[in-house]
Symmetry: C2
Subunit: 407 residues, 2 copies
């Protein structure tokens, strides 16, 4: 071990992204790293000279355990996308100057497919200038839309939160003696994995949701209204799960059928929300049924009080595996999860070329979506192992304790 380590977090937060940070930090320290730096606000912070010596922030074993339980990006995040090298050499020169200044030999970036683009560009550029800095991607996203890996850390906990909360919303929604319809909007711009997790609510003690709509399939609003009408004329209450990303045949989001304002983020993504409200209003006005629109919003990605132990352990492990691989000389690669068996569930880590992963979205296969507006048992069997077991929050004075960000 000669050089130092630097690690950053990027993209939308998850409940377990800090478990990966803990995995990188602890494994690097255990394997003899001199200094482990954290970029503040990802690569953008590095460019601005904002970083910390993580040993000042993570000082004890209990800090490691608190960090694992702290949702959202401990180091701050960014949505900054590195420009192409051609014509922007100055940016790359600056980054490598910073890295050399800090004597960095190992660079880890925890994020989704946009963040893996950063690893790809930096490792490609590094090769071109014969730098021997190793660049490794650590996967993270609640959306589960990363290619190659069986699933992404962050997804299991969000799925567990969604399934648990759906059970509660279903209990709440079916309580009255007149029909009511609750429409729950779930994150996942182009991939329906998270919305599909609503199907896990169904069981011995729960009726489950009535309908599930994923963005992979064109949303037919007439079919939707007919389905609602058919069930509601029997006097039954319903709970329906929709993805924020469902679109009608002409390509517009359902949300865009209303007159709501739109925002666009730094990556050119539209900020979505409001499809549930639009559909609830439509049902209310056209069918005269009492409706409620619920957005799981931020809560579904930061519910540190309700994580999957399976997920949080895998998140830690992918961080550790990235360090191990880099220390053994790998670069330009991403740690991926490979499922060995469904029952009993067994999963290992491997590494894979970042070029096959950056900027690619993995969607729910169409054959896992049924014609009667639900998902197949195969899809449920895929998700179920990922929500298993719990990591209890450390409760202090009645509330889950997090690792203090400011020191």
């Amino acid at each position: 071990m000669t050089g130092n380590v630097i690690v950053g977090q990027s993209g939308g937060p998850t409940a377990v992204i800090n478990s990966s940070l803990a995995g990188v930090f602890k494994t690097a320290k255990d394997r003899g790293a001199k200094k482990v730096y954290g970029m503040i606000h990802g690569i953008k912070g590095l460019l601005d000279g904002e970083y910390v010596d993580l040993s000042n922030k993570i000082q004890t074993d209990i800090d490691i355990d608190l960090l694992k339980r702290t949702p959202s990006s401990f180091l701050g995040s960014c949505r900054y996308k590195l420009p192409e090298v051609e014509g922007n050499e100055a940016t790359y020169t600056k980054i490598f100057e910073k890295l050399n200044e800090l004597e960095i030999q190992y660079f880890f970036y925890i994020g989704g497919n946009d963040s893996m683009d950063t690893i790809k560009k930096l490792s490609d550029y590094g090769k071109s200038i014969n730098s021997d800095i190793k660049f490794m991607g650590v996967p993270k996203t609640i959306d589960n839309d990363l290619a190659v890996t069986d699933h992404t850390p962050g997804f299991g906990s969000a799925a567990k939160y969604i399934a648990s909360t759906m059970k509660e919303i279903i209990r709440d929604g079916l309580v009255y003696d007149y029909p009511t319809i609750t429409i729950v909007e779930i994150m996942g711009r182009n991939a329906g994995w998270l919305t599909a997790a609503a199907a896990l609510a169904k069981g011995e003690d729960c009726e489950g949701v009535d309908m599930i709509y994923l963005p992979e399939k064109v949303f037919d609003i007439d079919q939707f209204m007919n389905h609602v009408k058919a069930v509601s004329t029997k006097g039954r209450s319903m709970v329906i799960a929709i993805s924020e990303g469902i679109k009608v045949a002409d390509g517009r989001y359902v949300f865009e059928l209303s007159d709501h304002v739109e925002f666009v983020d730094a990556f050119g993504h539209k900020q979505l929300a409001g499809s549930a409200k639009f559909l609830a209003n439509k049902i209310g006005s056209e069918l005269g049924i009492k409706t409620r629109a619920v957005e799981l919003s931020t809560m579904q990605r930061c519910a540190g009080h309700m994580t999957s132990r399976t997920d949080i352990t895998e998140a830690f492990n992918v961080g550790g595996a990235a360090v191990k691989a880099a220390f053994e000389g790998e670069s330009g690669r991403v740690v991926v999860l490979k499922r060995i068996s469904d029952d009993p569930y067994m999963c290992i880590t491997e590494t894979h070329d970042v070029h096959d992963i950056a900027n690619i979205e993995k969607k729910v296969p169409l054959e896992w979506i049924t014609d009667d507006d639900y998902v197949t048992d195969e899809l449920i069997r895929y998700i179920r192992p990922l929500i298993q077991a719990e990591l209890s929050p450390i409760m202090v004075d009645g509330l889950p304790r997090h690792l203090n960000v400011n020191m």
Copy 2:
């Protein structure tokens, strides 16, 4: 013990209303009740002849423990308000016929101030016809707006969920390197108790929310925008908690300043939602700051996975105390909680005349709201003991298990 017992649930669900049902059932059985019936959908169900023998639904000790952890009204709910006796004698005759038919001697109703009106009317009518059926109210509401009682079962768990979730939303909201503003909308039509619980998020490990707006105080939209501007020009991100019930000086809800549709429920209450979205849009368009509106919606009242052990125990106890009082001859009364001490927290049950409680709303005292858009330490000290300790969910296959409603 000669006669039977009947119990019903009414109004909006809570996470612990079934703990009170468990308290009524278990205490009645333990004290020798022959049959304990449950009205399906409250008094409305009784009128329609819908009830069950609860011994068929709650069969084992583990059923009792599952029931305590099952959110929302196990027996179903209603928002039916009994008419005045005068001119509606037929309704009352019918109810007492049903009660006599089932040989009911003790009648328990779990609900908020609208539901206590049912206890008041039935016990007054009962007296007028010399019935010796005992009528007792069991308090329940997340809103904490019931008179006389120190607080209401259901409030502590909702407050714990809100404070925990605010901590997570704050972590999520402060993650980027540019200012963002998150506005969180919390339930409580006319009383700000629940919104005030957002203040509990602040602590060693959390910056807390920046501003809190309760419905007890007129919402000054100019002052609000100035406050936001003053903080955001320093480049700081903010998280703001507002009650769904905040109103501007002319009496309109903030929500009504937009062109959103309104609903009115059976009690004549407006269905509120959208004030956060309205304010977020206003900040976004006028100040050009990235905003997000979050509604805690149904989740805050049905989060059975995140209850306060203090609350769930008190909920059980008020059910038991109602049975004890009725069996000892009391009627036309409500079980209330009396706080003996803040530190250490000690609280006992008493009973109180329902006429002082029905239809009355207890609001947050104005002196507990500060001029700089926050709440006093006194208010925080009042709420803090109510969120203490946990009752772990019984986890099965990765999800919290509830008592099966359908058998």
